[in-house]
Structures are given as structure tokens and as C-alpha cells.
Amino acid sequence: MNKSGSKIDTKLLSSRIKNIQLLSAQSLYNKHPHAIKLLASVGVKPGKIREHATKLLTSGAIAGSLLLSSPQTGLIPDQTPSSAIVQTKSEVTKSLSNQLSQILPTKLSPLSEEQETKISHLLFDIFGITAVPQLGSTRLNQTYGLIGAEQHLPRYPGDSISQHDEYQKSGITPGLGAWGYFARSKQDLTPEDVQKEKYYVAVQTLYLPDWNIRTRYLYDWYKHRKVVVVNPKNGKTVVAVVADAGPANWTGKHFGGSPEVMAYLNLNVGMQKGEVVMFFVDDPEKVVSLGPLEYNSDKEK
């Protein structure tokens, strides 16, 4: 019998403290990666320093080690990240999924301002990116909705499915994306254009309430606008650009995703659709790369 009369939801507490622990590991790594690497090079995980100390004590190594000179290890060893960091990377997606489940409504429905703010903070904390539901005066109709699989888009006149390196079975649309080709010719196609077609989404610009009032402005504004897409079921997160309009309301879907986006989100199976959170990425300096965004270890918060 406990002394206070109230019980702790241990599952909830464990999940929340696990998240705090992951963020603390991430914060340490972001700020002092050299320290983590140095400790990893001698088999020590910072969070497990007590276990390490116990091992040293029981093996009698502590007294002896004081007599040894420091090993000649460089401050920033050139080696792959420690297993501790790799583990943290994979656990971050689980943590994100856990936390989103506590913010998102149980049934698919529009998010409140408070829910959107919490998600923005969460994405900033975890990935160091500024992801927002609204940029200036522009916002999507939906920030939490159903995404469906799209085909590849023609990148230049004459492009065909055989020239796309992955997911050829998805096919290529007979028409152009809403913003036309990515390049004027195959010769003009840049690696950046290739990435844009790989990681693109379709959004329902046609249903924006002000679409008919300021069409030209919005058309330009949305062209290749960077967004972040999160599958709340598994925490998988990808940065993409808006490159097509749709889908139509009657489909019951709110967004479309390129074959690469859907595959990364693990939504390219079964009905090839699923719930996602989609926010704009505020990235005026163009530092956020397109593609999977599991764990941003290069940026400091």
C-alpha cells in the first residue's frame, strides 16, 4: 500500500523519463561530440559511468589505472559513432512516436493551436529544425491528415520511369506536376532537382480558402516549399518539397507522397496510405537537406 493513496502510471512515467534521458544524451552529444567519441573509444557510455566505475572497482583496476599514463588517443578519434549513439538515433524515432501519441487526437481530426505548438517544440527539440504549421500568412488546410502514394513525376521533357533510380514499379505520371518540370532538359537537371523529385509531396492548394483570391502569390509561394512529414506511428520523419497539387477531396486523403517519401515512412505497403503530420520548415538559409531526418547530430540546439 502506498503512503499517499495515489498510484503512478509507471508506463507513462517510464516513457516520459526515457524521453528526458534521450534528450539529455542528445544534448551532450550535440555540444560535445568529441567527448562522447573519446569515451566510446575506451568503451564507456556517459550515462553508464556508474556501471563502468563498479566494474573498475570489482576488477581492482582503479588503483592500478592511477599509475598508468593517459593513453595517446586523439581528442577526436576518427571512427564510427559508438553503439550508444547509434542506439540513441534509433530510439529517438520511438521517443518521437511516443510523444506524438500523447499530443495527437485519438481520431484523425484538425489539430488545435496548442497541439501544433507542442509538435513544433518537439520537432525543434529532437531535430533542431523550425517546423511550423503557418509561415507568415500562409498555412496548410490540414497539418494532420492522410497521405497517399503518388507516382514519380517527370523531371524534364522526355523523362521516363527507367531513368529514375528507385521504385520504378510506382510508375510515372502521364502529366506534369502542378509546378511543371524540375529542369528544362536532362542536361540541366541538377542533383538538387533529383532530390526534389525523390522527396516531394502533393498538398491541397486547390482547396486553400484564399487560393482564388491570391492565386499567383500562393502559386509561387508553394512551389518547392519545404515541409517536414512525420509518421506518428513509427516516428519516421522526412523533409520534402511541395511539387504537386492534390489529392482531390473525394479520395479522403489530404496529402500525396512520392515513392521515396512513402517508402521511408513505411507507408508503401498495403493500402499505401497513412496518417502523417505535415508542417512547413522555416529554412531561409537552406540548411535543412531533403530526405530522411531521424536524428540531427550535426546541429547544436
Binding site: T10, I17, S24, H32, I49, R50, S70
Partner: protein, 110 residues
């Protein structure tokens, strides 16, 4: 439990008492306290490195992994860090503990 050289500045008893007062299976308590412990190690190491000159990081980290219990580590930090490192470790760990205590409150089932 093995004592790390900064343990006396952190003191997680507050959290242990809080958890004990609400009853919890031994295994669950062990898991939660292990996560708390890891969190505090991450924070404390970050606080130390934030305040220690970069040129001294390698020396400190070697000493630290060779003997995390060594009280001389604190003496080393006091000598090398310009600010009151004990005070900073105390105050920063207090913030983390308060955050964790809040999480425990949020997880209470009436």
C-alpha cells in the same frame, strides 16, 4: 552503490523518496531510477565540459574514465574552472530533478 565523484552534489534521494511514497514494483522503480541516473550523468558531464576549457577536456576525460570515483577530479575542476563548479553542478542538477519530479506528479493516477 558506487559513488561518482560528483554524486554528493546531485543527491537523487528526493526522487527516490517521491517514488517510494507512491508505491511501485521493485523492477519498475529500478528502471525509472536507472533512467534518472543516466539523465543526471549526461547533464553533469555536459555542465562540466561547458565550463571547462576545451584544451582541458581530453585530460579530464582520461582521468574521469580511469577512475570516476576519484575525489581529485573535483579538485582538478576547481583548479581549472573559473566559476564555482560545485555550485553550478548543484543548481543544474536541481533543475533536472525538479523537471523529473514534475513528470512524476503528471504520472499520478488519482
Amino acid at each position: 552503490m558506487t559513488k561518482i565523484f560528483y554524486d554528493h552534489l546531485i543527491e537523487i534521494e528526493e526522487i527516490t523518496i517521491k517514488i517510494d511514497s507512491h508505491g511501485m514494483e521493485a523492477e519498475e522503480k529500478k528502471e525509472i531510477l536507472s533512467l534518472v541516473d543516466e539523465t543526471l550523468h549526461h547533464h553533469t558531464l555536459k555542465v562540466i565540459l561547458d565550463n571547462l576549457s576545451f584544451s582541458k577536456h581530453e585530460e579530464f576525460l582520461h582521468k574521469f574514465h580511469q577512475n570516476p570515483l576519484d575525489p581529485d577530479l573535483l579538485e582538478f575542476l576547481k583548479k581549472e574552472v573559473e566559476v564555482d563548479i560545485e555550485k553550478i553542478i548543484r543548481s543544474e542538477s536541481k533543475k533536472v530533478k525538479q523537471n523529473i519530479l514534475k513528470e512524476i506528479e503528471k504520472a499520478l493516477v488519482p
